[in-house]
């Protein structure tokens, strides 16, 4: 459990960080909280010779809510997400989800940027960001661009981010929707057996808007368009919910691991989606 030797860099600006990673190509990696990357290095599953620590860059931290748009700096820790009352008011689903990630020790270190950039299907924030229709801001040698969370994930550990880009912030619209993030896991500190994030808005008796995304039920997070279509415009009856659950389960593509075989995971997916929809409706 000892990593191979590497050179440590601690730049104080995004520009310098980008320069170091573009100079060294795939020999270099940025490190944020280190709670996904360092275990991989210790297992020697990730070989890299340059580690670029983002902790020294001041501008990457913080949460702001401005005219209905929430912006979160990539280096904001999961603990800070939980502690922020303004965020809890603008997007309460984040606190609910973050509280189900790992344990307090990990959350003091792990960052939202690392969590969404990592590309591990087990991470909870990517599905959550798809649910919130978030956009990621990436900065590379040729400047800044934005990518939608719903288009960011290509396969396990493969994302739309180029090797020489740094994810600097995340933004999404504040919403007054009913919300729920439901996660089944084996114990505190475990990744999801199945998890779902749901947002639902009601207008009178019917559903005016909805969003559903799944975590750890495929090699990427899944935004469930078809399931959403079953709810939007419906009266959110038992049948409507069942139709949405069935569509979400249909969109999932889990693989077998120590958490269980595929058929169990699909069943668990149905349970978490249903629970999340019902809780979101109650809160809508």
């Amino acid at each position: 459990m000892i990593p191979a030797a590497f050179e440590y860099h601690r730049p104080d600006s995004v520009e310098d960080a980008v320069k170091i990673i573009s100079d060294h190509g795939d020999e270099a990696r940025v490190v944020a909280g280190g709670h996904s990357l360092i275990p991989m290095m210790k297992l020697r599953m990730t070989g890299l010779s340059h580690l670029v620590d983002l902790q020294g860059i001041g501008g990457l931290k913080g949460i702001s809510v401005d005219g209905g748009t929430v912006t979160i700096g990539a280096m904001t820790t999961q603990h800070e997400l939980i502690a922020d009352d303004q965020l809890a008011a603008s997007a309460p689903i984040i606190r609910e989800a973050a509280l189900q990630i790992a344990d307090p020790q990990v959350r003091y270190m792990g960052t939202i940027g690392g969590n969404v950039a990592n590309g591990d299907p087990g991470n909870d924030m990517p599905g959550l960001m798809q649910c919130l229709a978030a956009t990621y801001t990436l900065v590379g040698p040729s400047g800044e661009r934005t990518v939608s969370a719903r288009e960011f994930y290509e396969a396990a550990y493969f994302t739309a981010r180029e090797d020489d880009e740094i994810l600097t912030s995340i933004s999404f619209d504040a919403s007054a929707s009913g919300y729920a993030y439901e996660k089944q896991k084996r114990k505190i500190g475990d990744y999801a057996t199945a998890a779902a994030g749901v947002l639902i808005s009601k207008d009178g008796g019917s559903c005016s808007a909805a969003s559903i995304a799944l975590t750890n039920l495929a090699d990427t997070p899944i935004y469930c368009e078809e399931a959403v279509a079953k709810l939007v415009g419906s009266s959110l009856s038992g049948d409507d919910i069942s139709a949405a659950v069935a569509a979400a389960v249909g969109a999932s593509d889990p693989s077998e691991d120590n958490r269980g075989p595929v058929e169990f995971k699909k069943h668990a997916a149905g349970v978490v989606v249903r629970t999340a929809i019902e809780r979101a409706i109650e809160r809508a």
């Binding site: 000892i2 505190i188 120590n258 269980g260 169990f264 668990a268």
Partner: protein, 806 residues
């Protein structure tokens, strides 16, 4: 009584002796991070060792090239089997009479096996060099399933002994077969089963798991080439046995070896055996002349050092229509992995599995255990249990439930009518043990009343109705267990390890000012010996526990003992402590009589002093006596006040308990919510109730882990699937339920203070209680047996198989 003399009760309380919830004296350092563990040790010039391990479960090693590794700056040596062979140390004896490769000798037999040992000036260089050792393997067919070990064409694992069909425990019928061990009456039992009104038959599997102590295994070997002395610090549960074994296999004279177990961060059986890391550290220190440290990481601990359980127990239980058990039959297939490295007393290759008649008066029984080699890590240690007692308890407590189903009887009542009765003790069991004492009916009634058993069953019936009516998706399970343990190995006449009798020892020195030091042959790994053994002494010799230092673990100073495991410290070393205390007291009596100018028989013991019979104002306190022993010339009495006792117990002790678990299972998620866990323990005399409670909480939490998710699982190719704490279940406080503890007290009649030992009871009794609760939840849907661990997906699968998702 002298006016100055405080009342008896006050003086007794001041001693903090037996029965006091004295705070643990160890905790001041442990809670402040001031413990001193092997990995804290830093010696001048110390080198670090690290292993190259096999990625394959079964392969020939064609070649090992160490050139690139040797070129890494800081690397001092890379040892392979070829380097150890001239010393005869490429293999080592196991505690079970087998031998084990220290480093791969031509082949590897399990994933994670030690292949080469890199020695370097620091850990980082060693880890880098490990990557650079080039090993050429030729993969062989893998044997994972013990039931396929003897089929035609099965790969032969142990080619070194393939032709040797006489093993350490009798005949072997196949190269992959280790031993057959039998107890009881085969024909008689089979006849009883053949004629019985009712026979229930089931395969009970207790899966492979691992003790997983918080601190992994490690050692620092330091060979002083000037004086020829080897000092070995390590995570040893039996330091003296390690010294003797080290001497026998290395040829170094035993007086030139000093073994020290410093603070140990949990053992649970994992630290009883001898591991290749210890041997390699010793050899490396001899070769380099420098201290060498080896400390394994978590993955190495889980995948290569001793596992526990892995018993496939085929059972048949016979009874009358009324439920009176008439016979028990068990055939166990024991998966031992690549080497038989169980840590059992020599004559017991399946440990005390023959306690499997449990708490019941079963007139006829037969047990047969077959040990089998597979391509898995070696071990088979007693994980917080006394040599397979956990397996035995799980087996009988499941079989009782299976029989209750067959008889359509309440499992609590079935137990009650079969318990050994109070007046039957000492009780001779059909499989050869003499149970010392017990009062099972009293404990059982107390337990059932405490949880309001009848009402729980009514609630369960209501829940079932609601479930069937579609009003709920949860089922309620009530898990019952009444276990009987056998601990305190053991009488030298039938218990030894590598020829060393399993007595234990205590040596006491009283200082002139009336305080004391006691040294024992055992070693605490968290049990709190320094607290509780001082309490035993306080009550025996009238010196406050706070004034008694307790030391263990240094073979140069402690008297010889067999160490701490199998819940033997209190039954054996605790007895030695009391006996040594009594020797002190006997001498103190003579001194007191001399000082009081009366005959020895004219003084009597009074808590912390001797008083003249009938003249309580005339007395000598232990403090006064201690001083006198060092400054008075007493005719016929040697100066000083010291004693040593080596205690060979006349019998084992038989703690027992009644545990009840109530849980709610969600049939859709497979999650189980533990609502109540009630644990009544009878461990005989209670030395420190607070420590007992702590032991029960800890053991129950391990039991929860084992029953509900913890396993060492292999895939069909022999790869370990659960090699890190991400997948190997260790509950956090969040998953841990509240426990209700209770007790009855039935002292052991043969132990000097009547104590029986408690450390392992909660693991032994907890596992069947949790597992029975899960089974019980599904009983009305026709479930009789499903295998642990009961993690989410397996519970879900059970529900699914019973049609509960249709």
């Amino acid at each position: 009584m002298n006016e100055m003399t405080p009342p008896k009760s006050e003086r007794a309380a001041a001693l903090k002796g037996l029965g006091t919830s004295r705070k643990r004296v160890e905790d001041a350092r442990f809670t402040q991070g001031k413990g001193n563990y092997v990995d804290d040790l830093k010696l001048p010039g110390m080198l670090f060792g690290d292993f190259v391990r096999s990625p394959y479960p079964h392969a020939y090693v064609k070649s090992i090239n160490t050139d690139a590794a040797m070129a890494v700056p800081g690397v001092v040596a890379v040892l392979t089997a070829a380097d150890l062979e001239p010393l005869g140390l490429h293999w080592m004896p196991t505690l079970a009479g087998d031998k084990q490769m220290v480093l791969a000798d031509g082949k590897v037999l399990f994933q994670g096996q030690e292949v080469a040992f890199v020695v370097a000036s620091d850990r980082y260089a060693a880890a880098d060099a490990v990557e650079l050792v080039e090993v050429e393997y030729e993969e062989q067919p893998v044997l994972v399933d013990p039931f396929k070990a003897e089929i035609e064409g099965a790969p032969v694992l142990r080619e070194d002994i393939a032709d040797n069909l006489e093993g350490a425990h009798g005949a072997r019928r196949h190269p992959n077969h280790i031993f057959t061990w039998e107890a009881g009456e085969k024909e008689q039992t089979e006849a009883v089963i053949g004629d019985a009104d009712v026979v229930a038959e089931e395969m009970i599997y207790y899966h492979r798991t691992h003790p997983c102590p918080l601190e992994t295994c490690g050692a620092v070997a330091s060979m002083d080439k000037v004086n020829g002395k080897l000092t070995l610090h390590g995570t040893f549960q039996a330091p003296h046995a390690v010294r003797t074994v080290a001497s026998l296999i290395s040829g170094i004279a035993e007086h030139n070896i000093r073994v020290i177990s410093p603070d140990i961060g949990g053992g649970f059986g994992n630290k009883v055996g001898v591991y290749p890391g210890y041997v390699c550290a010793i050899v490396a220190s001899i070769v380099t002349g420098k201290p060498v440290k080896w400390v394994e990481d978590r993955i190495e601990n889980l995948t290569s050092t001793a596992f526990a359980r892995d018993y496939w127990m085929q059972g048949k239980i016979a009874a009358t229509k009324e439920g009176k058990i008439t016979g028990l039959w068990c055939h166990t297939t024991a998966d031992h992995g690549a080497f038989d490295a169980c840590a059992d007393p020599t004559k017991f290759p399946a440990g005390f599995m023959n306690i499997c008649t449990g708490s019941y008066d079963i007139p006829t029984a037969y047990l047969c255990v077959d040990g089998i080699y597979t391509n898995k890590a070696p071990g088979g240690v007693a994980y917080r249990c006394s040599f397979r007692v956990t397996e035995a308890a799980y087996f009988i407590e499941r079989m009782i439930e299976v029989l209750a189903i067959k008889l359509d009887m309440d499992a609590a009542e079935l137990r009650r009518i079969n318990f050994i009765k109070k007046d039957q003790f000492p009780y001779q069991s059909a499989l050869g043990w003499e149970y010392d004492s017990g009062d099972y009916h009293t404990a059982w009634d107390q337990a059932l009343n405490a949880v309001n058993y009848k009402q729980l069953r009514e609630e369960q019936a209501q829940r079932l109705e609601d479930f069937k009516a579609g009003k709920t998706r949860t089922l309620m399970g009530i898990g019952l267990t009444h276990f009987t343990e056998i601990v305190g190995a053991g009488p030298v006449k039938n218990c030894d390890i590598l020829g060393l009798g399993m007595f234990d020892s205590c040596e006491i020195r009283i200082h002139p000012t009336g305080s004391a030091i006691a040294r024992l042959g055992t070693i605490s790994q968290g049990q709190g010996h320094a607290t509780t053994f001082a309490q035993i002494l306080a009550s025996e010799i009238g010196i406050p526990a706070d004034d008694i230092t307790l030391e263990e673990g240094d073979t140069d100073t402690a008297p010889y003992g067999l160490g701490t495991y199998g819940s033997r410290s209190t039954p054996v070393a605790g007895a030695a402590t009391a006996m040594a205390g009594r020797k002190i007291r006997a001498k103190a009596q003579m001194i007191a009589a001399y000082l009081l100018e009366v005959h020895d028989d004219d003084v009597e013991w009074d808590v912390d002093r001797f008083v003249v019979k009938g003249a309580p104002e005339r007395f000598k306190t232990m403090k006064e006596i201690a001083f006198a022993s060092y400054n008075q010339a007493i005719p016929g009495v040697e100066p000083g006040l010291e004693a040593v006792s080596y205690y060979d117990p006349p019998n084992m002790t038989y703690p027992f308990g009644a545990y009840i678990c109530v849980l709610d299972i969600n049939v859709d998620t497979g999650t189980a919510d533990i609502r109540t866990f009630y644990a009544l323990d009878d461990c005989g005399t209670r030395i420190n109730p607070m420590i007992i409670e702590g032991q029960v909480h800890g053991g129950l939490t391990e039991a929860l882990a084992i029953a509900m998710g913890q396993e060492i699982a292999y895939d069909d190719m022999g790869n370990v699937k659960t090699g890190s704490l991400m997948d190997f279940f260790i509950p956090t406080s969040w998953e841990t339920p509240n426990y209700i503890t209770d007790f009855t007290t039935t002292p052991s009649p043969h132990h000097p203070i009547g104590a029986k030992g408690v450390g392992e009871s909660p693991n032994v009794g907890g596992v069947p209680a949790f597992s029975n609760a899960v089974h019980d939840a599904f009983r009305s849907f026709g479930l009789t047996q499903t295998h642990m661990p009961h993690d989410h997906w397996r519970i879900w699968k059970t529900a699914n198989g019973l049609g509960l998702h249709d």
